[in-house]
């Protein structure tokens, strides 16, 4: 029993990281129909920037505060300079462009930080284990669960209760109409894109003490995040949340209970979900 509870908690910590990634990817898709394939790259950039900030300043919290805006600035640049001229073209062009950036970011990071696996220690105070159910559980993972849960709640409140959230939801529902109401939709696009990539950067820093930092983590993360978003349904925050939980737990339990099938568990879950609901769990709208 204890084993299952601990695994469920591990899965929950992983799910929360996935949610930070999936929320940004899904919002960006919902709003501008762009599947940002550079999302994993921004995640990895966040992790490596975090690593460097911790080395320079000695403080994990400085990294947590500074990295997301820096990564968001990268997202801003990508949207403003490169993606914006492509909105009149096909979706394929936009996906391709972000794919090109995924390669560029991947290689630049390898260039600047090297190709070896690096690790980041959990910050002081959270680098110990807490006695639970007669055994020990890492305090840092509990922190990740709490932070992820708080951010999920904050995002949901922001999106459903604020004026800005209403504008974003309106943009997802109908871009032309939102623009006709006098909203500067282009600015909303840029803002959401930067915000989403910033969340990916935050996920990178937060994940570093758990997952380690290594080249290739960008595409691995991108694929899992895409699976989460597709399982939950593109463009919905609720879908991202439940998709993250489902995939996070499935992957965690799959690894421990069925190690020989660990490679396919999440793909099997995705295939099963899509065969029953071809637009994901919460993706009701037609596109």
């Amino acid at each position: 029993m204890t084993f299952y509870v601990l695994q469920a908690l591990n899965g929950l910590a992983y799910s929360m990281l996935l949610f930070l990634l999936a929320a940004g990817l899904s919002l960006i898709f919902g709003l501008m129909d762009v599947v940002n394939l550079a999302h994993g790259g921004f995640y990895m950039l966040g992790a490596y920037l975090g690593l460097s900030f911790v080395r320079w300043t000695g403080s994990f919290w400085v990294a947590v505060v500074l990295v997301p805006p820096l990564v968001a600035a990268g997202g801003f640049l990508l949207e403003w300079e490169f993606l914006r001229p492509l909105y009149r073209r096909t979706h394929l062009d936009q996906i391709l462009l972000t794919f090109g950036f995924a390669f560029v970011i991947s290689d630049v990071v390898r260039w600047l930080w090297g190709a070896e696996v690096q690790s980041l220690a959990a910050p002081p105070g959270l680098d110990r284990s807490i006695p639970m159910l007669g055994t020990l559980f890492p305090a840092y993972r509990l922190f990740v669960i709490a932070l992820g849960g708080a951010l999920a709640l904050g995002l949901w409140l922001g999106l459903s209760r604020t004026r800005l959230g209403a504008i974003v939801r309106a943009g997802v529902a109908n871009k032309e109409m939102t623009q006709a109401m006098g909203i500067n939709i282009a600015a909303v696009f840029t803002g959401v894109f930067a915000f989403g990539t910033g969340l990916a950067g935050l996920a990178g820093v937060i994940a570093a003490p758990i997952q380690g930092v290594f080249p290739g983590v960008d595409f691995e993360t991108l694929i899992v995040t895409l699976i989460v978003v597709v399982v939950g349904g593109l463009g919905t925050l609720t879908g991202s949340f439940w998709g993250s939980l489902l995939i996070g737990e499935a992957e965690t339990f799959g690894k421990t209970l069925l190690p020989e099938a660990a490679l396919v568990v999440i793909y099997l879950v995705m295939a099963a979900v899509l065969l029953v609901r071809p637009r994901g769990l919460f993706g009701g709208r037609t596109r």
Partner: protein, 307 residues
């Protein structure tokens, strides 16, 4: 590409091994194999509008079919070639029946899922597939009276099959069936309203593409001499998708050209610099921004793109 470009390219390609080094012949063999692979995907991406990120499944399954057959002593090309193509087509039929229920990004992710499952099977079922090590020691095929082992005869085998595949795919694209596929790409709902069974048309395209990918997989197994799970991994599907889009989707000649450009860039860049990925990424961004119809669009000067 214009009508004259195809025969001209064929003549040049037929003469190449006579005058050039072994290295060029070998590289060209690889390019032609990947060109078949890329053209098969183009039938889906460029003509039907189905962007698949799991096309390596059919390439890899065919390659493994050859590997398994030759491990059990079956080396006759007359047996392995049809077997590989049939395996690719059968796998495509199976995947297509499920994946084509979804559309757009969902379709892309389902094809990815099925390819990753094939990868996992190749990776885990070590007793049959050799696991991570794969299947080694695949000898070049036997044809009565001809030794296909050396680079030049093998090049001609690949060349003849490339010409056949290119001709066949062009015929298919130009047929009423091909026109129906383009109709689906442009407006599937309207095609359905006009009485076309779009699901069966898409499934047909998917199976043909799987068979052609199977052909390239068979040739790759012989070219490489061994098969490992890497051929099934999603990066393999991603690479061939890049070839299609870089060259120009929906033109057949474009993806073949794209295969050549990507492989030559890869060979050149990786021998001078470790920054090969960066160069590929930058090339990609440039093509999207400056040549939306791919390299073929750039060459033929047709800039307008329907959206």
């Amino acid at each position: 590409m214009t009508r004259a470009a195809w025969p001209a390219a064929a003549v040049v390609l037929a003469l190449v091994p006579l005058g050039l080094s072994r290295y060029v012949t070998t590289t060209l063999t690889e390019i032609l194999i990947y060109a078949i692979f890329a053209m098969s995907l183009d039938l889906l991406v460029g003509y039907t509008g189905l962007v698949s990120l799991g096309h390596a499944a059919f390439f890899g399954i065919a390659a493994y079919t050859v590997g398994l057959l030759s491990a059990h002593g079956a080396t006759a090309l007359a047996l392995t070639l049809p077997a590989g193509v049939a395996a690719g087509a059968a796998a495509a039929l199976l995947v297509g029946v499920f994946a084509l229920r979804a559309a757009g990004v969902y379709f892309l992710m389902l094809t990815l899922a099925f390819a990753q499952m094939a990868f996992a099977v190749a990776h885990q079922w070590a007793g049959v597939t050799g696991g991570t090590n794969g299947l080694a020691g695949i000898a070049r095929p036997a044809v009565p009276g001809l030794d296909l082992g050396p680079p030049v005869p093998f090049y001609y085998l690949v060349f003849i099959l490339f010409v056949a595949a290119a001709w066949l795919l062009r015929r298919i694209a130009a047929s009423p069936f091909g026109a129906a596929l383009v109709g689906i790409r442009e407006n599937e709902a309207r095609m359905r309203a006009m009485g076309f069974d779009t699901f069966r048309l898409k499934l047909g395209a998917f199976v043909i593409a799987g068979a052609a990918a199977g052909l390239s997989g068979v040739l790759f197994a012989y070219y490489n001499g061994f098969v490992s799970p890497d051929v099934l991994y999603w990066t393999s599907s991603g690479q061939v998708l890049i070839m299609v889009l870089l060259g120009g989707a929906g033109t057949l000649a474009g993806p073949a050209l794209g295969a050549g450009v990507v492989l030559v860039l890869q060979n050149l860049a990786s021998s001078y610099t470790a920054r090969w990925t960066l160069i590929l990424g930058a090339a990609f961004i440039l093509v999207v921004l400056a040549a939306p119809r791919g390299l073929v669009g750039l060459l033929t000067g047709r800039w307008a793109r329907s959206s």
